[in-house]
Amino acid sequence: MKVLVTGASGLLGSSVAAALLAEGHAVTTLQRRASGVTGALDVLGSVTDPGLVEQATAGQDAVIHLAAKVAMTGDPAAFEAVNIEGTRTLLAAAQAAGVSRFVHISSPSVAHAGDSLVGEPAGPADPEHARGEYARTKAHGELLALAADSPAFPVLALRPHLMWGPGDTQLTERIIDRARAGRMPILGSGAALVDTLYATNAVDAILAALTAVTRTHGEALVVTNGQPRPIGEFITRLALAGGASAPGLRIPVAPALVAGAAVEKVWELGEHDDEPPLTRFLAEQMSTAHWFDQRRTREVLDWTPRVSIAEGMAALARHYSGT
């Protein structure tokens, strides 16, 4: 099968591309930087460039769309350009090119407004109530993708939740870095249950979706390890695996929410290229439960996570200790 993977410069995208190659598929990638995946044909550029997208999708059997602008804050127009318009452009090009499988990578944040999620199924994407520009624009993007679904152009949307693992810079690296600097707080009791997803399992799930989309399509699935853990335990184990000591900093929830909101505001006013240290959204994420009903996901994908959290933590520790 000929597969286009967008956003293959990140950990997940490049891992998916490599896994596809290992299974004998022909892989084209589309992103601004080289994917670094040996054997893949890199098309360098943005999904916001229609000509380039048309070129990349030509002759493909399947598309896995991971490219997105991911950040806590930033200019709304920049999010919209990639996450909404880029998705729209890609969908149109893929349909025109006769692509017959489309796997859209989304986020659980598209469907909720920041309150606690306890064993929830994947609700419909809701741009109106999604928190922050990323979630809002990803929600729009997912709606576009699912709206394009048809028997001739089957679409599945996957929403991986809190992916981590060796090589992950988004979550794993940041928590470990902060923990090493003694700046990683545990909010409140640290007991709120969160679902996470070990990177290898995420790759497996996406490959499973490429097969499943021909059977079941037109819906969104949250993908997790199905092993909710108290957020405090998860962060502590990540820190320990990364060679840092267990976070000793504990912040009560209410002040953290206020502080998060304040920092967010200040950040928006100034000129900052990096992420604000704490946002209200992040504070909520770290102090309320976020875990999901995985029954539908596993049924549709015919997939179960291969690596447990305990095994993943052990692999992470080996990664950081260089053994």
Partner: protein, 955 residues
């Protein structure tokens, strides 16, 4: 104030209401035609291509309307098994969306122009006849029976004379709709096949004050203000829900009562309550009371005891008029019973039982006497009925079988010690002869005082000689002993005693004081004689001491084996304590079973370290010694107190709870050489109340080196079901294939079956036995001659527990889950209501707990599920033991990584289940009685909040 007439109307869109149910029906009443708004499910049924095979006539009270019956309508339409029931529920005239008549003035108690009871009954008659005429099966019945519509107290013709073909007609009513529907039914027994009433009142006794909320509403000038001019009465009623009623539901109840003019009917209704002798409706009320007593068709009374208006005395009055009625009390429900509890489910279930669909040809259900219907049919009418009809167990209950008190009476000449109570200072002891004499005296005394066979006697006496004497005397006199122990707590006892509604209370001063202040029913008798002042203050008539001196006159009748003998209570660790009925036959069978199983011989002595066990001594012919301990706190039993008790009674048997044994082992160092010797002479150590871990059994074996250490399994509903000894527990612990708590094999006479549990966590209706039941997760179902006769005034609970028909026996659903191993041993894995349903299937908590309890640092554990059923996350709550670090012991919340890892590793060795979190609770909430049953609901609720990220607090 004048009111213009206003026509009936259809309600607008309302929550939980299908517009298809609303009909406007013209009916010819005493003062001409009026239009009634009626909830009628016939159009919905016919739209679905169904034709009713039964009709429920429902009548609301004040100030509600037919919206009250929406759940019944919906549930009956949803039901696809059994009969197809049509629900007809009119809004009374001037109520709900029915016609409003013109009036010149506000309603008053004596004023003219508004509907009174008599007219309301005939209004109901007019509407339902009009509607019954629409269905051929009911049209014929009504046509044939139009003549005798005039009220007559003698109209109580047997139902069998005019069965409605195979189309039963049943009434149900609530509040004043209850008494009105009963009245209509009583006057049309030719039409009616069964009656159901929710909280209502037939009779207002002259000597009892009106309930406070009504007094306020009726207070002359207040009446129009509270009921018509404002919506106060309406709002108060809607505020009576146990849980708050949702805003949109309250709005729907208020919909027809928006303005003062709309509310005229509410005031009229209140004004028609015949509170005084001079009231125009007084005579009618007296008449209908007599009529209702003539109802001889099946009856079901559904009661919400938290109702501040329709108090217990009204239920007592109804029970008196309808002694054959089945009763179900929703202990947590208030006035709007059907908003607080699943009344629709109960009513339909009862009807299914009473009027099984076509395959049962019996036209007269009261005489259907085979199979489950008969079993369940007798279940809930505890005052009169004989239980267990058709069960093999009943075969044993012939009148000549020994009763519980026979062993005692047989030893009336024996001057050896029968019972010693060392919790008294100085210790109190009685001989068999003394005890038999005292029991005989009290029994005759009670009879002479007016106690009649079947009267219920609440025993508010601490375990000890006094309670033993009182209990056997009550049994001897044919009374029913109500044993609500202090282990239920004051609130639990109050609930239990109000539900049992005893005619008599025998109590010590603390119990009598509670009875007085909490308003418990019953004529009062003290234990010791009281002075005149105390007697008056507590309303006490006499004392047990005085009664014991009664010189026997006429011989006492021997109670029938199938008469009720006792009501015992469940511990209430899973909801309100339930009353469990035992007949004389079943109590006698229990005594014989225990005597056999324990190997009691003449001269055997037992230490009742679980004080209620002292009661059994005279029944099984063993001397009983109660050690010096707090009766309500099992863990106050010390090794020295236990040893002294052994010495005193030369006892060879010891009974206590695990909590008591823990303290005994912890204080064993204080024993003297003589006391240690006494312990060495014990032959049997028995634990009651909860299973005993091997560690504790081993510790006991050190203390009692020559004793067999047994841990029987049972419950209030079947006190002795299986048994296991220490070697059995050790053998079970040594193998790794099974998990849970092994409670051994069934004792002889107990039949055991298993109801498998499905993925959704429900236990199957099909029972497995023998090889098919091995290694299947299921609910244990038992049958034994010494098990319960039934639950008291809990028709639905009783019918549920007896729903199995295997081998034509009477079974009991235990709610305990687990599995049976290939050797036939029973492994408990928790309670059905504590079952977890994970994405990988159902999971009994007990298996994992047994593994976690062995992890160092863990005293005990509770496995609870958080999250939606079917995808619950597994959480382990741990109570740390003394070896755990102090920090871990004191602070509730997440366990540290070390303990978490230890627990996860231990579990992973045996189970595939993923453990989401390990939490610490420094002490577990437990029941009062045993101090050992973990309150898992509370732990689960706490774990759920903590794991949502809410403040940790305490469980």
């Amino acid at each position: 104030m004048k009111f213009a007439a206003a026509p009936a109307a259809l309600p607008g869109p309302l929550p939980e209401w299908d517009p298809q149910w609303s009909r406007l029906v013209r009916a010819d009443t005493v003062d001409g035609e009026h239009t009634f708004h009626v909830l009628d499910t016939l159009p919905a049924l016919r739209a679905a291509g169904r034709e009713p095979t039964g009709t429920i006539l429902a009548l609301h009270g004040n100030p509600t309307w037919s919206y009250l019956w929406r759940h019944l309508a919906a549930a009956s339409l949803r039901s696809t098994t059994g009969r197809t029931w049509r629900v007809i529920a009119p809004d009374q005239l001037e109520m709900g969306f029915s016609d409003r008549l013109a009036h010149d003035a506000l309603p008053t108690t004596h004023g003219p122009g508004y509907r009174r009871i008599a007219e309301r009954v005939t209004d109901f008659d007019a509407v339902v006849r009009t509607l019954l005429a629409e269905v051929p099966a009911t049209a014929a019945a009504t046509a044939a029976a139009t003549e005798p519509a005039t009220p007559s107290p003698t109209a109580g013709s047997p139902a069998a004379e005019a069965p409605a073909g195979d189309h039963p007609i049943v009434t149900i009513g609530h509040d004043w709709g209850g008494v009105l529907s009963l009245t209509w039914a009583a006057r049309h027994l030719d039409l009616v096949d069964a009656v159901i009433s929710l909280n209502t009142a037939v009779h207002q006794p002259e000597d009892a004050p009106l309930p406070a909320p009504l007094q306020a509403a009726l207070a002359g000038p207040m009446l129009p203000t509270s009921t018509v001019l404002t919506d106060l009465f309406l709002r108060i009623t809607l505020g009576l829900g146990q849980g708050p009623i949702r805003k949109e539901i309250k709005e729907a109840f208020r919909a027809p009562y928006r303005t003062a003019a709309d509310r005229r009917g509410i005031g009229a209704f209140v004004a028609d309550i015949p509170a005084q002798d001079t009231h125009p409706s007084r005579a009618e009320l007296e008449q209908l009371g007599a009529d209702i007593a003539g109802i001889d068709v099946p009856a079901l009374l559904i009661w919400g005891p938290k109702d501040p208006v329709f108090l217990e005395r009204y239920l007592r009055d109804l029970r008196g008029r309808l002694p054959h009625a089945d009763i179900h009390r929703f202990e947590k429900a208030s006035h709007l019973v059907s908003e607080d509890a699943d009344v629709a489910g109960l009513a339909l279930r009862w009807l299914e039982n009473r009027f099984p669909a076509a395959e049962a040809p019996a036209a007269d259900p009261t005489h259907a006497a085979s199979g489950a219907a008969a079993e369940s049919a007798t279940a809930g009418s505890p005052d009169t009925q004989a239980p267990g009809t058709g069960a093999p167990a009943a075969a044993q209950s012939s009148t000549d079988s020994p009763l519980m008190f026979d062993a005692l009476l047989a030893r009336a000449g024996d001057r050896s010690i029968a019972s010693v109570d060392m919790s008294q200072q100085p210790p109190q002891s009685v001989t068999w002869a003394q005890l038999a004499g005292v029991v005989d005296g009290i029994a005759h005394g009670l009879r002479d005082l007016g106690l009649r066979p079947g009267d219920r006697v609440s025993l508010l006496v601490q375990p000890g000689n006094n309670l033993t004497a009182a209990l056997y005397a009550v049994l001897r006199a044919g009374g029913v002993a109500v044993v609500a122990d202090a282990g239920l707590g004051v609130a639990g006892m109050t609930r239990a005693i109000k539900a049992a509604d005893p005619q008599w209370i025998i109590g010590q001063v603390p119990g009598l004081t509670l009875a007085r202040t909490a308003g418990w029913p019953g004529r009062r008798i003290s234990v010791s004689p009281l002075n005149a002042l105390e007697r008056t203050a507590l309303g006490v008539e006499t004392s047990i001491t005085e009664l014991s001196r009664t010189v026997p006159s006429a011989p006492l009748a021997r109670p029938d084996a199938d008469d009720d003998a006792a009501i015992l209570y469940t511990s209430g660790s899973t909801g309100p304590a339930k009353g469990v009925r035992y007949t004389h036959a079943r109590l006698g069978a229990l005594g014989r079973k225990l005597a056999d199983h324990l190997g009691v011989e003449p001269g055997s002595g037992l230490v009742a370290g679980f004080p209620p066990f002292a009661l059994l001594g005279p029944g099984i012919g063993a001397t009983s010694v109660t050690p010096d301990m707090s009766v309500t706190k099992p863990r106050t039993l010390t090794a020295t107190a236990l040893a002294d008790a052994i010495l005193t009674g030369d006892c060879t048997m010891v009974f206590a709870s695990p909590a008591a044994y823990r303290n005994v082992c912890a204080t064993a160092g204080e024993l003297s050489a003589e006391q240690r010797g006494a312990c060495a002479s014990v032959e049997l150590v028995l634990s009651a109340g909860a299973p005993v871990p091997l560690r504790l059994m081993d510790a006991l074996a050190e203390l009692f080196p020559n004793a067999a250490i047994h841990s029987p399994y049972g419950m209030t509903e079947g006190l002795l079901l299986t048994d296991i000894d220490r070697h059995g527990v050790a053998a079970a612990a040594a193998q790794s294939r099974d998990h849970g708590v092994c409670v051994g094999t069934p004792v002889p006479g107990v039949s055991l079956a298993l109801a498998p549990i499905d993925a959704a966590g429900r236990s199957s209706s099909t029972l497995l036995t023998g090889a098919k039941a091995v290694d299947v997760l299921g609910e244990f179902v038992v049958s034994a001659p010494h098990a319960k006769a039934g639950y008291d005034r809990l028709w639905l609970t009783d019918a549920d527990s007896k729903r199995d028909e295997l081998d034509g026996r009477m079974w009991h659903r235990t709610n305990d889950i687990g599995h049976i191993d290939p050797e036939g041993r029973v492994w408990l894995e928790g309670r059905l209501q504590h079952l977890l349903t994970t994405a990988d299937g159902p999971l009994g908590p007990g298996g994992i707990e047994a593994v976690v309890d062995e992890v160092p640092g863990v005293l005990r554990s509770a496995v609870v599920g958080v999250g939606p059923r079917g995808t619950q996350a597994v959480v382990i709550v741990v109570e740390p033991d003394a070896e755990a670090p102090a920090g871990a012991r004191q602070k509730p919340g997440l366990a540290d990584l070390e303990l978490t890892d230890a627990v996860r590793t231990a579990v992973a060795g045996h189970f595939a289940a993923d453990i989401a979190a390990v939490l610490i609770s420094p002490t577990f909430p437990t029941d009062i009685r045993h101090n050992s049953k973990i309150n898992r609901e509370r732990l689960a609720g706490w774990a759920d909040a903590v794991l949502r990220g809410e403040p940790v607090g305490k469980p």
